[in-house]
Assembly symmetry: C2
Homo-oligomer: 478 residues x 2
C-alpha cells in the first residue's frame, strides 16, 4: 500500500513551516550531560508534549526519578509517552526518539551559535546542535502526524511513542520504564514492532536500514595526590605528578592503529570470515567517503573492508579528554592536582559491559601499580550498554525497504552501525519484537561534533519516508 500522493505533496508544501519548527526545537539547549542545562531538557520535554497533544496524540509524562550529576541531586527529565489509534485490525508500531542533545559551545569550533538553527540556502544544510541527532527525526514524525491530523486522515497503523531526554547521558531511568511498560497490561502492550530513527546513512547519497549497533562502556579514570594545583618550578621533580601517571595509563589503552591494548577485549570478538567480509565489500561506501565525512585524509587503512569492519563489527577505544588539567589557550606552568581521563570502548557481540569492564578495571589497576606512584587511582564507570544485532529479513525491515524504494528510488544499504543506542537492545529484549533503525540523516551530519547539520532534503524526504513506512507496514503480511 503506497502512501497517498496527497501526503507526499503536503510534506513538500509545508517544508518551510517544518523547518521553522525544527529551529524552535534546536533553540532549546537540552544538554542532558550538563547540570546547568537540566531545566532546558525539561523545557524541551514540555515543548514536545505540547506538539504531540496538538496533533491528536494522547500523552503522559513519566517521572524517571533522580540523578547525581556534578555533585548535585537533580530530577531526571521525564520521558514523554504517547499513543494514537487503537484499531485492533491494525498493526501497532512503537516509535522511539530522544529530545536531549550533546554539549556544544561556540568556542568548540562552531561557525555559528550551536543553538540557533542556520538555514543555509546555498547547500540546503540546516545547521545546529540536535538538527540531526535527534530532533530532526523526532520532528519528522510530527510532520507525518500533522498531515493526518489536519486532513482528518486515519493513520494506517496504531502508534505508540517513547521519547526520552537522557540518551546522550546513558538513558538513565529508561530501561526500567521500558521493561515495566513492556509487561502485560503495560503501556507498550500490543506493540508489533519498533522503529527508531537515530542514526545515519553510511554516506551522503544512499539511504540505509540498520540492523546492528555497537555497545558502549565509558570510563573516567582519576589520578590524584597533591592537595591542590602546584607550581611546576617549585614542585617539578619533587612529587609524583598526577598528569604524568594519567598520561602513562591513557597511553596504554589503545595503540595508534586502533588496536585495544586491554588484554582480552579485542580477543573476545571472533575474526570475520570471507562471507562476512563480502557484505562489507558490497556496501556503497569508500575510503574517500570516510575521509570526506571526517574532513581529513586520516583513514586507518586503505582497505575499505578493514575500515568498515573497524566501524561496524570491531570494538574501538577512543580517548576523549582530560578533566582538571590546563585546557585553556596560553602557557600555564601548573602541575594539576587531580586529573580525570575520559575514554570509552564501543562494544560488539559477544562483548558486554559486564564482560569487558572487569578486564579494563583489572588492567588499569595493574598498570597503575607498575608506575610505583604514591598518587591515588580512582576508576569510575560512567555508563554502558550492550551491542545489538537484529534480523534484517523481518517484515518490519521489508516494509522499510519498500518505503525507501518508493521515496528514494534506491535500494537501501543494510548496515551495522558504530554508534550506540543502548535502548534499542532494551526494546528488543523487553518486547520480544523486531526493532528497525531507519535513519534520516547523512553520514557527514556531524552528530556529537561541531557544526552538526541535517540536509533539508533529508528532513523533507525523510519525513516522507517515515510516513510511507507506516503505510507499507500496514500492508505487509506479518
Amino acid at each position: 500500500m503506497a502512501a497517498p500522493s496527497e501526503f507526499l505533496q503536503y510534506i513538500d508544501d509545508k517544508a518551510d513551516a517544518f523547518i521553522q519548527r525544527l529551529a524552535d526545537a534546536v533553540g532549546i539547549p537540552s544538554i542532558s550531560g550538563d547540570a546547568k542545562r537540566r531545566g532546558d531538557v525539561i523545557k524541551m520535554a514540555k515543548w514536545l508534549n505540547d506538539q504531540l497533544t496538538a496533533l491528536g496524540v494522547e500523552t503522559k509524562f513519566v517521572d524517571l526519578g533522580k540523578q547525581e550529576l556534578d555533585g548535585q541531586i537533580l530530577d531526571l527529565p521525564p520521558a514523554v509517552l504517547g499513543k494514537i489509534g487503537s484499531d485492533a485490525a491494525k498493526k501497532t508500531v512503537l516509535i522511539y526518539g530522544h529530545f536531549d542533545v550533546q554539549p556544544a559551545l561556540k568556542s568548540d569550533g562552531w561557525n555559528t551559535d550551536p543553538f540557533t538553527l542556520v538555514v543555509n540556502k546555498e547547500d540546503g544544510q540546516l545547521v545546529g546542535r540536535g538538527s540531526s541527532d535527534d530532533k530532526g527525526p523526532i520532528l519528522g514524525w510530527l510532520n507525518v502526524l500533522q498531515y493526518h491530523h489536519e486532513n482528518k486522515r486515519p493513520l494506517p497503523v496504531n502508534i505508540k511513542f517513547c521519547f526520552e531526554g537522557m540518551e546522550e547521558s546513558g538513558s538513565e531511568g529508561l530501561d526500567e520504564l521500558v521493561e515495566r511498560e513492556s509487561k502485560p497490561g503495560g503501556y507498550f502492550e500490543g506493540v508489533d514492532c519498533v522503529c527508531i530513527s537515530d542514526n545515519y546513512w553510511l554516506n551522503d547519497r544512499t539511504p540505509c536500514l540498520t540492523y546492528g549497533l555497537r555497545g558502549l562502556t565509558y570510563f573516567k579514570v582519576t589520578v590524584t595526590g597533591p592537595g591542590r594545583d602546584l607550581h611546576s618550578g617549585v614542585f617539578g621533580r619533587t612529587v609524583h605528578e598526577p598528569m604524568t601517571d594519567l598520561i602513562h595509563l591513557m597511553g596504554r589503552l589503545v595503540d595508534p592503529t586502533g588496536k585495544i591494548l586491554v588484554p582480552g577485549v579485542d580477543e573476545m570478538v571472533p575474526p570475520a570470515d570471507e562471507e562476512e567480509k563480502a557484505i562489507y565489500k558490497a556496501l556503497d561506501y569508500s575510503i574517500a567517503d570516510v575521509q570526506s565525512a571526517a574532513g581529513g585524509e586520516v583513514a586507518l587503512s586503505s582497505d575499505k573492508v578493514e575500515v568498515l569492519m573497524g566501524r561496524m563489527r570491531n570494538p574501538s577505544l577512543s580517548l576523549h579528554g582530560i578533566e582538571g588539567a590546563f585546557s585553556e589557550p596560553g602557557a600555564k606552568t601548573v602541575i594539576p592536582a587531580k586529573v580525570s581521563g575520559k575514554f570509552s570502548i564501543r562494544l560488539v557481540p559477544p562483548q558486554t559491559p559486564e564482560a569487558v569492564d572487569p578486564l579494563v578495571i583489572t588492567y588499569l589497576k595493574s598498570e597503575f601499580a607498575k608506575l610505583n606512584s604514591k598518587n591515588t587511582l580512582i576508576i569510575d564507570n560512567l555508563h554502558g550498554g550492550k551491542p545489538w544485532v537484529a534480523d534484517h529479513k523481518h517484515w518490519n525491515f521489508e516494509a522499510a525497504k519498500k518505503a525507501t524504494r518508493a521515496v528514494y528510488k534506491q535500494e537501501p544499504d543494510l548496515t551495522r552501525e558504530g554508534g550506540s543506542i543502548p535502548v534499542t537492545l532494551t526494546f528488543a529484549e523487553s518486547l520480544g519484537v523486531n526493532v528497525l533503525l531507519l535513519p534520516m540523516g547523512r553520514g557527514d551530519d556531524g552528530a556529537h561534533s561541531t557544526n552538526e547539520k541535517l540536509d533539508r532534503s533529508n528532513f523533507i524526504e525523510g519525513s516522507k519516508l517515515l510516513g510511507t513506512y507506516l503505510y507499507e507496514l500496514a500492508a505487509i503480511a506479518k
Copy 2:
C-alpha cells in the same frame, strides 16, 4: 646601619592600610596570558604608576610593542620604570617586580573568588591571585617608600624600579628594554646591584636568600588530522585519532619517577658530588615540608637530598594539560579533531633553551614518525629562559643576610630555586652586577595554584625586611 626603629613601628602601625592596598591590587585581574584580560594588565600598570608617583617616584611607561595572542594582535602592557634619589655618594639598587598574574578561575578549585582578597583573621592568610606572586612583594616596596615619603626621610640608597606586566607569559619585550637601558646613558646607568622579590622561602619558617634559578622552555605540541570533531561511534577505529597520537607522544616525555625521556636532556647536567650534596643536606627542609606544601604524601623519594636536588639543581619536565580535548565534567563521546599538549622543562646550568629545544623537537618528530599516523604534528615553543646562578658571598647578599638577622632573628637559608624568572639572568648579564633574590612569601603560598595566599606576617615583616635591606646596603663596604 640598622633601619630606624621608627620605620619598623610605622610598618606595624599601617598594616591594615597596607593590606587594603593589597586588596585593591588583587582586585585587578591582570592575567597576561589571557587576551581578554589585557586591558586589566594595562589598568594594573596605571594603578602601580599612580602609587609610585604619589610616593615621590619619578616614573615613565615604556611601550614594549605588540604581540600575537589567541589569533589577535595585542599591545603589550607597558613596563613601568621609576627612579628616586640621585645622590652620587649613595649606592643605587635596581628593584624588579611584575604586576601580572597567572590565570585563575573559581572553577579551578578556589574556595573564594580569586580576584577578591580574603583576609582570614584566624590563620592570618591573605588569599587571592597575585597576593604572593608578585603583587605582595611589589607592595612591600611601596610600604617602604610610603614611610620615607610621609615622614620626609631620605632613602638610604638611590632606587631605580623596573616593573613589568608579562612575567607570567615569557616577559615579552623586557629583555630588549633591560639590555637597551643597561648601556651607557641608559635608564639603569649607575646601578650597583639588583634586588628581586619574586620567589619563596623553602618552608614556612625560615627566611631565605636565593642565588640560583632554573630556566624554562615551554612547548605546545599539536596533533591534527580530521577536519572537525568526530562521533566516536561513527569514527572509532576508522581514523587516526589525534588524542591517541598525542597521548602516546606525551607519555614518552617523562617517566613517573620524574626522569626526562628526551635523550640528552638529563645527561647534559653533571651529577652532584658529595660536597654539593652536603649543601642540600644542611638546608632547613624536610620531606614533610615538601609534602605539607604539596598537600599530599607524594614526594618522589624519601631521601631529602634527592628531593631537594630534584627541585634545585636538576631539570624537570611537567605535563600541564591538553587544549582542544573534552575537558568538562560529564561523558562526551567525541574524537577531538585538533589537540595541543602543553609541557615545559625546567632547565639548570649548563642547559639553555638553545641547547635543549632542538633535542626536544628532534625527539618529538622521531617518536611521532614511529606512530605511522596520517595526522599532522605541529611543534610550537611558547617561551623560554636560561637558568641562573649568582655569587652568594657578594656584599649584596651580605646586606640581605644582615637585614634578615635583624628582622627575623634568624640565619637565612641559602637556596637555589626551582622556578624561573628569566629576567634575573638578563639583569645579571646586561648590567654585570650582582643580583639578589629576596623572597617575601612562604613555600606553601601556592603561587600558580588555587587559593594562592600570602601570610599577613610575611607581608608586614617582609616589608620591614625590604626596608632594612636598603639600610644595610647603604652601610656595607662595596
